[in-house]
Symmetry: C2
Subunit: 386 residues, 2 copies
DNA sequence: CGAAGTTAGTTTCACATATTGACAAACTCG
DNA sequence: CGAGTTTGTCAATATGTGAAACTAACTTCG
């Protein structure tokens, strides 16, 4: 039995795994921003003494900085504001599509330090893992000492005894791949994997407009329609890793047919392809239809309005089902929220069961790099065991 | 400040609140049935030593019995099977409707020991609380020493610093009523309150076909359509206590109008009233339409088929959203599942996103007393701090 | 039949983690 | 400047947990 000598990079002391309170403290500071020890203690229901102990350990590990700053309450001794040291840890985030690999290195607060992408050389598991390894090494030249990695991809990812496992991924044609374990072995650091939509949900929940909420719903519109659900501070996965599969929610049985044969489902109105198809004009792509709609072209405007209606029904259904604190809409097809806000709100008003307390709706701009950043957030959450 | 002298009924020693592991152990035995210490230890990821300690405390409190029975594994020392002592605690469950009060006393395993119901004398909060008190005293004659009470009612119930509070209840015309606190004070025992649908979900989750699952969805059909959701072992409440409000899920925008003006929503097909209304024949009630359908009357059969289709769409939508381990259908309108199973399954097949792993579907018979029993389950879960 | 092997349950002890209560520090207010 | 207040720390202490060693109770095999 050889004692694995954890390679101590930088000047950090040997890293004991974070204890429970250490993790909650770090999470509290990450999500809610700088706070004093006393505040955290009240928030977490712990004693101040415990926070002295825990924050000392975190400061020793370089994760926190004891703000030399002082802040004033109304009376009494001013508190020392603790803040995260974002630069203390780095994380690698990866998004895999059927033909491309997007990667990003972030700090502890999920801020991107470096971005990189390249075509996926091969869909074979072995090759993909090797490519992730190569990308890691390439990025490590400038950003050494990445603490953990997270990978997001379309498909069903479930938790098994071999770590997060890709049960099925149509685009990559994978099934039963223990991706987290494979990548971890290749990179020599902890790694995790998750469905890309749930990764994005995790990112928005901790570092986006969902920060500080116990529940939220994220709807991402674009090539497909993705739904991510957070309940009780955790992203809902589903027993088969299929939660949030609402792209074929029935909207109007007399509507157009989607590529899977449903009449008038959400995807048949709302996906980028559906918006393009609604114009029945060959040679158009999403960008040009968007331009047409912005220019006032009636058919294009109508396509976006129909999409907005479908989105509103979807949002209302989710709000009725989960009653979340917040609903966030994002994705590369986010323009629908700008062009058809009226239809969205009208559909919500019609189908929302309880109008007394409208659920806050946030429209978030989207950039494709978000997908890779979401992978890094997976790694951060995993680092904090959340 | 007078020290409330907890009336120690029976020979039980002074009741310290159960510790974390004590609760999980009791829960494990309640939900999964008799087990040995070693089995529980493995299940809960604890050491056998801890189980020795914890079970001793539970046995002293009378909650467990150390099975004198011995059971055989393949080899080694036989294990002593621990079992719950159902008779060790009693719970009061109450269901309030707009004009009636249903009550039940159960044991620790939610088995009914006594049932009772009477008209609600008044909808005023004070009177209702007093009536619950009177019913408690009446039932206490035969079943003294009730440990805790749980009350279910239609409406939004939220958790506040005053305990479970009825934010709004249309039938009772209540709003902002700290019902749990009021009842607890009147009865002198811990009390809790919850939306009736979530209470029923909790009951089915622990003591019904959901037992042992971390996630499930319950659909109750009857006068209305209720949906209860369990994720990660907990019943989803929603920030406003409105989760699961799917009675107006759009099914077909060209369908009949429900009482709230929606065209073709789930309620417009599936509620008992909608099934009766579909026949457009005056003077009929649900029971007679049910008889007609069982007798083969075409219009009645069609009404149930349409209802079955709506139910199938609802189930598929919930399965797509949550990907639960199990879906349970019950309620006093459960006949639809018997008369239109084909339509239900067809709709699920059409709208279910992933057909690879069908979600198990359970049809559960229903008796109105279930509502009150569900209240008792609330009390039991509360007793175990779950 | 008895020794060896296996699993269950118990006991003891050490350890990690949290709280309590006392105390000094750093401020405001009158 | 003292009184009041709140923060952060320290020392002592309580609590819950697992590791390891032990006993108990059974099966199997030579």
């Amino acid at each position: 039995m050889k004692p694995t000598p954890a390679p101590v990079e930088e000047g950090a002391p040997p890293r004991a795994p974070l204890s429970g309170l250490e993790r909650s403290t770090l999470r509290e500071l990450l999500i809610r921003g700088p706070k004093s020890r006393a505040e955290i203690a009240r928030e977490l229901g712990m004693s101040r003494a415990s926070l002295t102990r825990v924050t000392r350990a975190l400061i020793e590990q370089g994760l926190l900085a004891d703000g030399p700053v002082e802040l004033r309450g109304a009376t009494g001794r001013p508190s020392e504001v603790l803040r995260i040291r974002p630069e203390s840890r780095k994380f690698l985030g990866v998004k895999l599509t059927g033909d491309h690999l997007f990667a990003v290195v972030t700090d502890l607060t999920a801020q991107a330090l470096a971005e990189y992408d390249e075509p996926l050389a091969s869909r074979r598991v072995k090759d993909a893992v090797a490519q992730i390894g190569a990308v890691h090494e390439r990025l490590a030249e400038e950003h050494p000492g990445v603490a953990a990695a997270g990978i997001g991809l379309a498909g069903d990812v479930v938790s098994t005894d071999k770590g997060q496992t890709v049960a099925q991924s149509p685009f990559l044609e994978w099934s039963g791949v223990p991706l987290a374990a494979l990548v971890s072995e290749r990179l020599g650091i902890p790694a995790t994997a998750e469905n890309d939509m749930r990764a994005l949900t995790a990112a928005e929940h901790w570092f986006g407009v969902g920060a500080g909420h116990e529940s939220m719903v994220l709807v991402a519109v674009g090539a497909g329609i993705g739904v991510g659900i957070v309940v009780d501070g955790k992203v809902v996965t589903g027993i088969n890793g299929k939660a949030g599969s609402l792209e074929h929610l029935p909207i109007d049985p007399s509507g157009p047919r989607c590529e899977r044969g449903h009449r008038g489902c959400a995807a048949s109105y709302l996906s980028n392809a559906a918006i393009v198809a609604a114009l029945r004009a060959p040679g158009l792509d999403y960008a040009s239809v968007l331009d047409l709609a912005r220019g006032g072209d009636p058919a294009a405007v109508q396509a976006f309005r129909d999409a907005g209606h479908a989105l509103g029904v979807l949002i209302a259904t989710l709000a009725n089902t989960m009653d979340p604190e917040k609903i966030v809409v994002t994705g590369d097809g986010i323009a629908v929220a700008e062009l058809a806000r009226g239809e969205i709100d009208a559909a919500i008003a019609t189908y929302r069961r309880h109008l007394g307390v409208p659920t806050p709706l946030d429209i978030q701009p989207f950039d494709f790099a978000e997908w890779a950043r979401a992978g890094a957030v997976l790694a951060i959450r995993d680092f904090l065991h959340f």
